[in-house]
C-alpha cells in the first residue's frame, strides 16, 4: 500500500511578507511545512502504524529550498520523498496539479493521496480536487475525522459550525485534511538525524516532459495590506462604555 502526502513549503504564518514588485516578495523569511499538510502527514503515519505497513511518500512542487520541508516530513516519519523542482516560487494550481500527478504516477500507484485543505500562502483551495480528476479518484476536503475499513474510507467533513457531512468513498481516493483531524507529532532530534539518511528524489520540472507552463491564473502583483491603526479607545464604567460604543456603531460606523 502506498500513501502519497502532498506537502508545501510556505512562509511561517507569523512572518512579515514584504512584496518586492510583481510576483516577488522577500523570501528570506522563515519557512515551514504548510500547517494543514502536517495533519495530512500525521494521518498517513497513523495508517502505517496501525499495521497496514503502508509506505508513506511526501511529495512537493517547489524550488530547491523546499527540500527543507521534505526533511521535516521525513523527520516526522515519511519513508521517502520527491521534489519536483521549479524555478519560480509561484506555480499556478492547474500546473501544480499536473506536476504532482505526473511525479506521483511515475513513482507508483497510490492507494491514498492526502493533502491539506489549503495552502496558507496562495490560499488556492483546489489542489486535492484537481488531483481527484487527474487520478480519477473521489475527493473529500476539510476532513476532520478519518477511518478506512476494507477498502472504504469514511470521513467527516465540516461544512458549518457544528454541521458535518459523513462521506463514504471507495479507495483509492484523495483526502484534504483540516485542523482537528489529529495532533501532528513533533520530530525529536534522533528523528531528524534519521531523516538525513532518507531519500529525497529531485525531479527537475523539465524532466516531466511538459512544455513551459502558460499559467491559467497569473500572479501580476502582491500588495501589503496595512493593519488598521489604533482605534478609538473607550474606558471607565462598562455601562457608559457600551452606550458610547453603540452610539459610535450606529452613528459613526453605521454598522448597526
Amino acid at each position: 500500500m502506498k500513501i502519497y502526502v502532498c506537502v508545501k513549503h510556505v512562509p511561517d504564518t507569523a512572518a512579515n511578507i514584504r512584496p518586492l514588485g510583481g510576483a516577488a516578495f522577500d523570501e528570506t523569511v522563515k519557512f515551514i511545512v504548510n500547517p494543514y499538510d502536517e495533519y495530512a502527514l500525521e494521518q498517513a503515519l497513523r495508517i502505517r502504524e496501525s499495521g497496514s505497513g503502508a509506505e508513506v511518500i511526501a511529495v512537493t512542487v517547489g524550488k530547491e529550498v523546499a527540500t527543507s520541508t521534505l526533511r521535516t516530513a521525513l523527520a516526522m516519519g515519511a519513508d521517502r520523498s520527491i521534489l519536483v523542482k521549479t524555478d519560480a516560487y509561484f506555480t499556478d494550481s492547474v500546473e501544480t496539479g499536473r506536476l504532482l500527478h505526473s511525479a506521483v504516477s511515475r513513482d507508483g500507484s497510490p492507494d491514498l493521496i492526502l493533502t491539506g485543505r489549503q495552502s496558507v500562502d496562495t490560499e488556492g483551495m483546489q489542489i486535492p480536487y484537481r488531483l481527484g480528476v487527474l487520478f480519477d479518484m473521489p475527493v473529500a476536503v476539510n476532513v476532520v475525522t478519518f477511518s478506512m475499513v476494507e477498502g472504504r474510507v469514511t470521513v467527516e467533513r465540516e461544512i458549518e459550525a457544528d454541521v458535518r457531512e459523513v462521506i463514504e468513498m471507495t479507495t483509492p481516493c484523495v483526502v484534504g485534511a483540516a485542523k482537528g483531524l489529529n495532533r501532528p507529532r513533533c520530530p525529536t532530534l534522533p528523528d531528524m538525524m534519521k531523516a538525513k539518511k532518507k531519500e529525497i528524489r529531485v525531479i527537475p520540472r523539465a524532466d516531466l516532459g511538459f512544455p513551459p507552463p502558460i499559467p491559467t491564473v497569473e500572479l501580476l502583483g502582491l500588495q501589503a495590506v496595512p493593519d488598521r491603526g489604533r482605534g478609538t479607545i473607550l474606558e471607565g464604567d462598562p455601562e457608559k462604555m457600551v452606550r458610547e460604543l453603540l452610539r459610535l456603531l450606529r452613528e459613526e460606523a453605521r454598522v448597526l
Partner: protein, 327 residues
C-alpha cells in the same frame, strides 16, 4: 460582453442572501448576461427573487438521478455540462464552505482556471483580487483562457435590486451517476447557532473567556445582536469552543460588517481570518493588548462586565437591526 452563470445556493426554497451578492458581482458589468443556475427543485420557488436581483435567465438543472444532494460529483458534473450547453464564459459562486467545494469540483472537471475567495473582479480584463499569505497581502491575478470559475468572499458584494426578465429554462443534464462518493449523513452538532463564515455580525471569545460555560455570555449577546459566535484558537484548543467556531489562519476567514473580539490579544494568525471585517471592536482589560493597535473601537475593561452590559443595552434598545445570518 460575457455570459456569466451564477451558482445559486438555496435552502428550503429560499435563496441564500450571499448568493444575491454573487448576482450583484456578476451584474457589476452592465454588459454581462447573467444566468442563475440552480437545481430543478428550487427554481420555481426562487424565480421571483432571482429576477428581482438581476437574473436574465434562470436555468433549472435536472439530472437523471432525482435526488443528487448526496452526490457532489454529479452536481459538479451537471454544472460543468451547463457551461458547454449555455456557452458560459464564467461560473460565479459564493466561496463559503459549500460553494467552494462545488466550484473546485467544477473547475477540476472543466480543467478551468479557478480563483476562490475573490474580493474584487473586473470582468472585461479578467483581473481579480484575493488574499495571499493569510490576509497579509492582496494578490492581483489575471485569468487566461475560459471558462473562469470564480468564488466571491461572502459579504463583500452587497446584493442589489436590478429587475430583469428572468425566463426559466429547464436543462436536462446527462451525467453518469457515480457511486464512488456518497454523503451518507449530515450531522447537526449540539451547539447550533449560525455559522461564522457567512455571518454579518460576529462576536468572538478568546482564551480569557476561561471555560465553555462562560461562552454563554457571548451567546446571549449574539442572540440579541443577531450575530454568530466565533473563537480564537487558544479558546478552541482549551476546549471552550468547537473547531468550527475558530476564526483565523487555521480556522475560518470571515468578512462581517462588525466583528467584536472579546478577550483576544490580536495575534497575526487571528487577524488573518478577520482582517477584512468592516468594523473591528476589541474588548480587552490590558491597555497594551496588541489588538488595540489595529481595531476601530477598543473597550478597555473586563469582558465579564462589558459583554453582559452590551447585552443589556441592546436588549433595552429593543429591535436592533437583526443581521441576516444564514449560515
Amino acid at each position: 460582453m460575457a455570459r456569466i452563470g451564477v451558482l445559486i445556493e438555496a435552502r428550503g426554497g429560499e435563496v441564500k442572501k450571499t448568493a444575491l451578492g454573487a448576482l450583484a458581482a456578476a451584474r457589476q458589468d452592465r454588459e454581462n448576461e447573467v444566468y442563475a443556475l440552480l437545481f430543478g427543485d428550487h427554481a420555481e420557488a426562487c424565480k421571483g427573487v432571482l429576477r428581482q436581483y438581476g437574473a436574465d435567465r434562470i436555468v433549472a438543472i435536472r439530472t437523471p438521478e432525482a435526488d443528487i444532494s448526496p452526490f457532489p460529483d454529479v452536481q459538479a458534473g451537471a454544472l460543468a455540462a451547463a457551461i458547454d450547453r449555455f456557452q458560459l464564459d464564467a461560473i460565479l459562486g459564493v466561496s463559503g464552505q459549500t460553494g467552494r467545494d462545488l466550484l473546485a469540483r467544477i473547475a477540476s472537471i472543466a480543467g478551468a482556471p479557478l480563483v476562490l475567495d475573490c474580493m474584487d473582479i473586473d470582468f472585461p480584463s479578467g483581473i481579480v483580487k484575493k488574499s495571499h499569505f493569510s490576509g497579509k497581502t492582496t494578490a492581483t491575478l489575471r485569468l487566461n483562457g475560459r471558462p473562469w470559475i470564480l468564488g466571491i468572499r461572502p459579504n463583500i458584494f452587497p446584493e442589489r435590486i436590478d429587475p430583469r426578465q428572468g425566463d426559466t429554462v429547464v436543462y436536462e443534464a446527462t451525467v453518469p451517476t457515480s457511486k464512488r462518493l456518497v454523503i451518507r449523513e449530515v450531522k447537526q452538532g449540539s451547539s447550533g447557532g449560525p455559522d461564522v463564515s457567512e455571518a454579518e455580525i460576529i462576536i468572538s471569545g478568546g482564551r480569557a473567556v476561561g471555560s465553555a460555560e462562560n461562552f454563554r455570555i457571548l451567546k446571549e449577546c449574539a442572540s440579541v445582536l443577531g450575530a454568530a459566535v466565533g473563537a480564537s484558537r487558544a479558546a478552541v484548543d482549551a476546549g471552550f469552543a468547537s473547531h468550527a467556531m475558530q476564526v483565523g489562519q487555521t480556522g475560518k476567514t470571515v468578512s462581517p460588517r462588525l466583528y467584536i473580539a472579546c478577550g483576544i490579544s490580536g495575534s497575526v494568525q487571528h487577524f488573518a481570518g478577520m482582517k477584512t471585517a468592516k468594523v473591528i471592536v476589541a474588548v480587552n482589560n490590558d491597555p497594551d493588548a496588541p489588538i488595540f493597535q489595529k481595531c476601530d473601537y477598543g473597550l478597555l475593561g473586563d469582558l465579564f462586565e462589558v459583554v453582559p452590559a452590551l447585552t443589556r443595552a441592546l436588549g433595552r434598545a429593543q429591535a436592533p437591526r437583526i443581521g441576516h445570518n444564514e449560515g
